[in-house]
């Protein structure tokens, strides 16, 4: 038996192993684990100001949160925003992918066109859509004007503002998700569709019984991304609404930004962040442990 170059198992091999893990562990700890723990720690203290140092207050921030109407509005808005962006953007992405995967003329250009929103920065997208939504001379109102319809202040009215923001997000995200679906569709051998066709399956049945189940791994991946984005994407709010009117478009992360960096109440912002974190962690856990089992990986 020859000796292992690192010694026969034992201490040296263990040290070697840990050294290999070290770079990843350092990054993970410094930029993920430590900030999360530190945030939780800060959420238990008051925000230090001038000559008043931080003081331990336990769960006071969380108690305040329960009584904070803007928090509840932001949370509710965020749930509406999630419901309005996740499923529509996925469905749209799948539909577009199915279309540009088919043998149609100019599909290269079509794919490019659908992918363009992904390439644009969200701030630029928001500015484009700001123009679309502008009352009177924005694109939508000009089109409405052709039919003699009155101008609408899409972003200025509490009834339409959140919907308008949702539309922008779906437009931005669907093209990105489409790329994943397109890649997945091209992995499906065409004979499967042909076999199903010969067996008498209609176009609809072929989609639901063959294509859709085979796209499930992609759907799971996209679903997780869409969910995270629903709580993460707030860039367009800075340009389009700043959370207004009357907090109608304030989302959780935007509210955290306002509390933390406009009102400088970092202790409370830390507490709000913990809520967002636990919300996302729950969603991720649910998906991996429950949906994972229903997905067939090839």
């Amino acid at each position: 038996m020859t000796a292992h170059p690192l010694g026969n198992g034992g201490r040296l091999a263990a040290i070697h192993g840990w050294l290999l893990l070290l770079p990843a562990a350092v990054l993970l700890a410094a930029f993920t684990h430590y900030p999360a723990v530190a945030t939780f720690w800060h959420s238990l203290f008051t925000t230090p100001r001038g000559n008043r140092p931080a003081r331990f207050i336990g769960a006071d921030h969380y108690r305040d949160m329960l009584a904070d109407p803007i928090f509840w509005t932001a949370l509710q808005n965020n749930l509406v925003f999630a419901a309005g962006t996740i499923l529509p953007s996925i469905a749209l992405a799948m539909a577009m992918a199915l279309w540009v995967n088919a043998r149609i003329a100019g599909r290269g250009l079509l794919r490019l066109a659908y992918f363009t929103p992904t390439v644009l920065p969200m701030i630029a997208v928001a500015n484009i859509w700001l123009f679309f939504y502008t009352p009177d001379y924005g694109l939508f109102d000009q089109v409405r004007g052709l039919f003699g319809l009155p101008a609408v202040n899409w972003l200025g009215s509490g009834d339409t503002a959140l919907g308008a923001v949702i539309v922008v997000t779906v437009w931005k995200e669907a093209g990105f998700f489409m790329i994943f679906y397109l890649a997945a569709l091209q992995q499906i051998p065409p004979e499967l569709g042909e076999a199903a066709q010969l067996e008498g399956a209609s176009r609809w049945q072929r989609f639901w019984r063959v294509t859709f189940p085979l796209l499930m791994p992609t759907t799971l991946f996209v679903l997780i991304n869409a969910t995270i984005n629903a709580f993460r994407l707030v860039d367009h709010l800075f340009v389009m609404t700043r959370g207004g009117p009357d907090n109608a478009t304030s989302l959780l992360l935007y509210y955290i930004y306002e509390v933390g960096f406009k009102f400088w109440d970092q202790g409370y912002a830390a507490a709000l962040t913990m809520v967002l974190l636990s919300l996302l962690a729950t969603v991720a856990l649910l998906k991996f442990f429950w949906l994972e089992r229903k997905v067939h990986y090839q």
């Binding site: 051998p189 076999a195 010969l198 067996e199 008498g200 399956a201 063959v210 067939h296 090839q298």
Partner: protein, 339 residues
């Protein structure tokens, strides 16, 4: 009745003709092999019959019904793909009854047909597995199962055995043939392997460049090849082809090619027959191939039983009976009547 009839069917891919006015009649209950080198249009012909491609010209009739413009599902055919095309997310049982399910066949009937197919193909223990958990041969059987439960009178197979190892391939050849006869199916079978075509088929259709080169029983193709292409394609090693002038001095000269199968040639002492030089001997156990060269130009293979002990480089004479000779016109390669 489930005969298949093709009348002057054409399929173009852009400017190339993949299938060029192919006319073909397959009788009910027959196993017909579409044979040919790759790119000869055999798979496209099969896909035209299945309806997976549309014919540009001509008509296709199945069971006396014109199906040229019908979608695949309405043509009453089942198909086994080269890749088997099993649905990876479904179990073996679900794969087999997929077609019955989408056609809304009652559950009891579905179960009856599934059980019958599983019994016939020995798939009983595998019904709950997924395709990824099966071996190549088992997947092949599942694909066959899916084709038989449809109870279609016509079954199409596109190189179904090409992904199996040699031993399994031989076994499956016999099984598919037995299955076809047991169920009385009309089976059209695409292959590039002449052994498969010769051993399984009632009729062999040899194709080349989108056209049918010859259509007949395996014996006809072997014993009376219609052209030099057929002569060269069927039989291994291929038939020897020599210019008429070389084969026999004073013969109709260079307008004729003479073909002789390797097993019909005998070696004799030099001075008699066609003079040649022995180049190499390939010993295959039961037989030996003697590679000879005539006139430093024409290579002639002689097949002899057992082991041959002869010196390499030796001068020999090659003789064959006159009735073993095939004659082809040199110009277009077609068979011409023997004198």
């Amino acid at each position: 009745m489930s005969d298949v009839h093709l009348n002057a069917v054409v399929k173009n891919w852009g400017t190339t003709r993949a299938v060029d006015r192919v006319s073909l009649h397959v009788n009910s209950g027959e196993l017909v092999a579409l044979l040919g080198p790759s790119g000869c249009g055999k798979s496209t012909t099969l896909r035209l019959i299945a309806g997976l491609e549309g014919a540009d010209e001509g008509e296709i009739h199945i069971g006396g019904r014109d199906v040229t413009r019908l979608p695949p599902a309405q043509r009453g055919v089942a198909m086994v793909f080269q890749s088997y095309a099993l649905f990876p997310h479904l179990t073996v049982a679900e794969n087999i009854v997929f077609g019955l399910q989408v056609r809304r066949v009652p559950v009891a009937e579905r179960k009856r047909r599934l059980d019958a197919a599983a019994e016939l193909l020995g798939l009983g223990a595998l019904l709950d597995r997924r395709p990824a958990q099966l071996s190549g041969g088992q997947r092949q059987r599942v694909a066959l199962g899916r084709a038989i439960v449809a109870e279609a009178a016509v079954c199409l197979m596109d190189e179904p055995l090409s992904n199996l190892d040699a031993q399994l391939r031989q076994q499956m050849r016999q099984e598919i043939r037995a299955l076809q006869q047991h169920l009385g199916m009309t089976l059209i079978y695409v292959t590039h392997d002449q052994t498969e075509a010769m051993t399984m088929a009632d009729k062999v259709v040899l194709m080349r460049a989108g056209r049918i080169e010859q259509h007949g029983s395996p014996a006809e193709l072997y014993e009376r090849p219609a052209s030099t292409f057929v002569a060269g394609f069927i039989g291994c090693p291929a038939m020897n082809l020599l210019p008429g002038s070389a084969a026999r001095a004073g013969d109709p000269a260079d307008s004729i090619l003479i073909g002789v199968r390797p097993e019909h040639i005998a070696v004799c002492e030099p001075g008699r027959g066609l003079p040649a030089q022995l180049e190499t001997i390939e010993y295959l156990g039961a037989e030996s191939m003697l590679i000879c060269r005539h006139d430093d130009a024409h290579r002639i293979t002689v097949r002899m039983p057992g082991r041959v002990t002869a010196g390499i480089g030796e001068r020999v004479g090659l003789v064959w009976p006159a009735d073993a000779e095939h004659r082809f016109a040199r110009e277009h390669g077609h068979r011409v009547a023997s004198t």
